[in-house]
Amino acid sequence: MVKRIVLNFPAESTQKPVIYDIVKKFDVVTNILKANVKGDQGGRMVVELEADADKIKEAIRYIKGCGIEVSSLGSKIIWNRDLCTDCGTCTSSCLSGALTIQAPDWKLKFNPDKCVACKLCLKACPLKLFSMDVFG
């Protein structure tokens, strides 16, 4: 399976090579999609993990054990569906394919599992119906 997570590093946990560790210890394929971590301040990182569900679970338990807060990426995204008009303008900027609009119903669909938190939709939506709290 593939899972995207957000790692929230406190300053004291930035010295541990957690990404190296989860590759070595749990054989998890990792892809860092976005990172903004400073040694003296901490920060956040969006990582895609690919492995069996059990190994991903163990890797996340290990990361948490290092004092790093882990949350799922999807939980950070807010789409105000009630006010959405299904114009589809946002899909133009969504290269990861998380936002789609197509036949037959032409209603906007959002798949948080595909989202890479690039934030282009925040600007692309003419009604400003997206907010995202990944990097503050």
Partner: protein, 380 residues
């Protein structure tokens, strides 16, 4: 067999008119001839819900005591026209305060339709008949005399597709265009679009009653930049933006489900407007016109990263597939206007006509038959 407006209206009054949406009739046309469609169908409903910058509202605030000749006017801090007598104004959809560009005239119009209060502040020099020089108060649709949506250019007949060949993002009224042909945006409702179902405006003219943002409104004139000179493709569809309509309607009867203030990043404010136009099937020619399908509606692809050059053509079936091909590039396509909401409008208008609540109007004057548009020459 030809039909007159009066014959069709008589059927509507009796609840016997056969009404289909433009998408339904296009599907029907795969197996039926125009003659068969003429015999079977009386009215076809068309619709669009898209960004239409050339929109606005005429408001009359009423006179205060003592009265003021409002020469400079702000609504929620947005400067609007002070050039219409003492207490009239025109709120342009794209009016904005440059300090706060994300909120503008379109949002004021939506707020008023939503029943919200708006702060009116105005200044005048003071005259013998209008002695006051300043006023600040709350207004709403309830407090005003007239509130008339009045849009100079809506429902463009066809429109180009926008791409960007340059190496930087372009922020445009066609949305955010990513570099190196990463995306293409299109705005027309295709086979459901009003003016594409009556390409020569045989039935759409001055006085045509329409669905306008939830109310029954009217076509008031040919829209600005009305253009009949674009080349036609082999199905009689004008290539690129051609005819337009000016429309008006009572704001108190409108619903913001069908009118929204919007902001395009680094471009500015615009307004999404929902319009539905009924097309009477008077004869075989009109039956053939409304049978047009997405694959037959072609438009130009313009490069917004390189002086708006025409770099290709495509059609709405290809655009709706999610990807078009241009000079070896596979380009991800995305709409700007809501097809889902346009369909909702076409269905509502169909319901009004079927229930006899909405009669068709014969234009009191047709649209211009020959009109091209001029560029602005600099001559000083």
């Amino acid at each position: 067999m030809e039909k007159t407006y009066e014959e069709i209206n008589e059927k509507i009054r009796k609840g016997k008119a056969v009404v289909l949406t433009a998408e339904q009739v296009s599907e029907m046309a795969r197996t039926m001839s125009p003659k068969e469609i003429l015999n079977k169908v009386d009215v076809v409903t068309t619709a669009t819900f898209g960004a239409m910058c050339s929109s606005g509202a005429i408001l009359n605030f009423g006179h205060a005591t003592p009265p003021i000749r409002m020469e400079r006017i702000e609504l929620n801090g947005v400067p609007v026209s002070g050039g219409l007598a003492a207490v009239d104004t025109f709120v342009g959809a794209t009016d904005c305060n440059p300090q706060k560009p994300e909120y503008g005239g379109a949002h004021i119009i939506q707020d008023l339709i939503d029943g919200k209060s708006v702060v009116l502040e105005a200044w005048g020099k003071g005259t013998d008949c209008y002695p006051r020089t300043h006023i600040k108060t709350n207004i709403s649709l309830e407090t005003m005399n007239e509130a008339i949506l009045s849009n100079p250019r809506n429902a463009y007949q066809n429109y180009n597709v926008a791409v960007n060949s340059s190496d930087r993002i372009r922020y445009t009224y066609m949305g955010t265009l990513l570099p190196n042909y990463k995306n293409a945006s299109y705005s027309s409702a295709g086979e459901l679009s009003p003016l594409l179902n009556d390409p020569e405006c045989r039935t759409i003219g001055l006085g045509t009653r329409i669905f306008l943002a939830g109310a029954q409104g009217y076509v008031t004139y040919n829209g600005t930049q009305f253009n009949t000179s674009k080349p036609l493709n082999k199905y009689g569809v004008p290539m690129g933006g051609s005819r337009t309509i000016a429309v008006a309607g009572e704001m108190r009867e409108m619903n913001s489900r069908f009118l929204r203030g919007a902001y395009f990043e680094k471009y500015g404010v615009t307004m999404y407007v929902g319009i539905g136009v009924p097309i009477p099937i008077l004869d075989e020619d009109m039956a053939a016109r409304v049978s047009i399908r997405n694959e037959q509606i072609e438009t130009y692809i313009e490069d917004y990263g390189n002086d708006f050059k025409l770099i290709g053509t495509t059609n709405y079936a290809a655009l709706r597939s999610g990807e078009i091909e241009l000079n070896g590039h596979k380009i991800h396509t995305a709409p700007l206007s809501s097809l889902a909401r346009a369909r909702e409008i076409a269905d509502i208008l169909k319901g009004w006509i079927e229930k006899g609540e909405f009669l068709l109007t014969e234009p009191t004057r047709p649209m211009p038959v020959s009109r091209s548009i001029k560029s602005l020459e600099e001559n000083l």
